[in-house]
Symmetry: C2
Subunit: 417 residues, 2 copies
């Protein structure tokens, strides 16, 4: 009945997360028994995330493996207080020993989530169960901040949050409102804060706090948040689409976050939907972004004479349409169609079949989502692989912070195969 405490630690592969150089090209590397252990531990934890508290026996059934295998995987995690056994649940009428559901311990090491925007930084702690605590934010100096000032603000904010952690966090995940070099864990460019361009935030955080740090750009973080803590939970394929002042997206394909070469995938805003259409901020014509952002919405609202056109957004538009304001209903429909066009293209290209909507359209609620869904279904030839469904994401800040934390989780769970 006595067990030797296993020497395995979770995560075993912290070095990988902190950005070690990979010498063997991916796809050529072979597997070893040790990797099997890591990978299987990741999959078990992922299943636990997807399903909520679950007994060992149930996990074994779902994974199609022996119960002893699950016990072997799970026991070290219990020893390290990553997981805890819940109260026994009553067996079915058939009888049997009551199952002890496993779930993430509140005492497990948390994750630090960070959202870096052009004007401020937000940080928080996220438990493995997805609860947020220790939220802090620090604004940057308004006029032409210097990089050292921003660095100080980030450090201040992070230190406050980390001070609240009872155990050392598993890592720091950062959602950046701009272009990111995921491999080098550095910022490439933030449009509204060019001083951040080239900032090696990942290295700075790792050096300062001794924690693995991962960066990715905002839409990708939203997707990851959806995958672990939101509407994308348990999904194998889906896409996140963000609309607002700009338009972005991210893809989860075949059970993995898809980044593309140098993380260049998901630049949906600048796909063409109108050859020789309106000129876009990128200098090209007819980008999706020219017809499916609030900028377009403002211009149209002004053109048809809606009150305060500069303050229009999905929330107000739905309200106006509901109130019977002339033209509002048609504008809502056209806006929904414009958003739907790009989603239809995405569906035809990679067929994720499930979309989580973020950003401005969230304010439009179910009405907006249904309008978009209807247009997408009309725009995609019917057979293309089953039902297409839609969901509305979390509120903006929450989604980004959960997503930032999810970046760390993804690395820990999705052992690269």
């Amino acid at each position: 009945m006595e067990r030797e405490p296993s020497p395995q630690r979770w995560p075993i592969d912290e070095e990988d997360v902190s950005g070690e150089v990979r010498t063997v090209p991916p796809g050529r590397a072979l597997l070893s028994s040790a990797m099997v252990g890591s990978a299987n531990r990741g999959r078990v934890l992922q299943t636990l995330f997807d399903l909520g508290p679950t007994s060992r026996a149930e996990l074994a059934r779902l994974a199609g493996v022996n119960r002893t295998t699950i016990s072997g995987i799970v026991q070290p995690l219990l020893d390290q207080q990553v997981l805890v056994e819940g109260d026994p649940i009553r067996p079915s009428e058939a009888g049997g020993k009551p199952a002890r559901p496993l779930w993430f311990s509140p005492d497990a090491r948390p994750i630090c989530g960070m959202m870096l925007m052009p004007d401020a930084v937000h940080t928080c702690l996220v438990t493995l169960a997805g609860t947020i605590s220790a939220e802090h934010s620090v604004a940057f100096p308004t006029e032409n901040p210097k990089i050292v000032e921003i660095e100080r603000a980030i450090e201040l904010c992070t230190s406050r949050t980390l001070a609240s952690a009872r155990r050392e966090p598993l890592g720091i995940g950062v959602a950046v409102g701009g272009m990111v070099d995921t491999d080098r864990r550095a910022i490439i460019a933030v449009n509204l804060a060019p001083v951040l361009n080239g900032f090696q935030l990942g290295d700075m955080l790792t050096k300062r706090y001794g924690l693995p740090a991962l960066l990715d750009h905002h839409p990708r973080a939203l997707l990851v948040g959806d995958r672990w803590f939101g509407k994308g939970r348990g999904m194998q394929n889906f896409a996140a689409v963000y609309t607002g002042e700009v338009l972005g997206g991210a893809l989860y394909l075949g059970g993995h976050l898809y980044r593309g070469r140098s993380g260049a995938g998901g630049e949906l805003g600048h796909t063409f939907v109108q050859v020789d259409g309106e000129i876009c901020s990128c200098g090209r014509r007819g980008c999706w972004e020219t017809i499916a952002t609030v900028g377009w919405l403002r211009r149209q609202a002004r053109a048809i004479g809606i009150d305060a056109p500069d303050e229009i957004n999905s929330r107000r538009l739905v309200a106006l349409a509901g109130a019977g304001v002339p033209g509002a209903r048609d504008l809502l429909d056209l806006y929904a169609r414009n958003v739907a066009v790009g989603i239809a293209n995405l569906q035809q290209t990679v067929a994720p079949n499930f979309y989580v909507l973020h950003g401005d359209v969230v304010g439009g609620g179910e009405i907006m989502a249904e309008a978009i869904a209807g247009h997408v279904r009309a725009l995609v030839p019917s057979r293309s692989g089953g039902e297409i469904s839609f969901a509305i994401g979390e509120t903006e800040d929450r989604a980004a912070l959960l997503g930032a934390a999810g970046l760390v989780l993804s690395e820990l769970l999705q052992f690269p195969l």
Copy 2:
């Protein structure tokens, strides 16, 4: 010095190929040591495919594993005559024992490749080294053929080809000029031969010949052929784009053929590039297919008064432009731009960074490819993840047959993780 002949057989997982029902959902299944063996064997063979004849020591270095590991993987394959040792190659100046390069044995089991078009069936044998032999084709009855007649034609053609095989083939791969249900290994619809709709070709072949049979649609087969035997060799990410009377494509992402839900991915022809543009055969407006197929080319050629506009294609267009025929140069440029628009969208969405062109544009040669490449590079914002490169695929029939065979290879090598 004596070895026990290993009991392992390649392929071990034939049952999987022949379409067994998967009970554990993908992504939840755990790995076992036996799977590690299969997966590693697949990766070693894949590396061999990518690099050509290679010694064990070199394979070990590339994979980052111990030499003994490679020996253990490779020895059973030598015993089974899947591989053979080549002549020793001279060591470098540093000296050392001469390496014995490994390569696929000409006596290895071949693969049967089949191309099923609306009017005929073609079959052949393909060795693991990519050489084609025993080609046969049988035309279907011209006017309203019955399904039994088609079935007989397929059987006749296949039997002739299989009769030439010295060893039992590893399987039959089929490239279908129409929609395919990859999971059920059945044909969904072939536009010009509706009698084929719903035909369970995979089951028929497996039952008749006792071989694993795999179906996929034509563009996907082209991509797979490129991956194993053509320009996509060794690539981890690339796309195949087929233009002609219709427009299709396929994606190889992260070292895997990407199919999407129910194989609905890659339906590029009906992505929107011109909202409210010309009406498409699918009933919608502004599909990419409306501006980047030979149908569009014919209409334009007629409009600007080019001779025999109904026989225009890329090959002739390039020739006309070279001969200085008025308008030809501009038309070529516009056609290239139209093709490039869709490729640019694909690049922005999944960023494969490498494209193999198939179909009509192959006739236009390097001139056509360069014209398309130039437009794509101009249409994609510069930073998006490095160079974008292009290649011209094999001639049409050869590409499809190699691709069909490649479908079987993909299943055998890409052990599902």
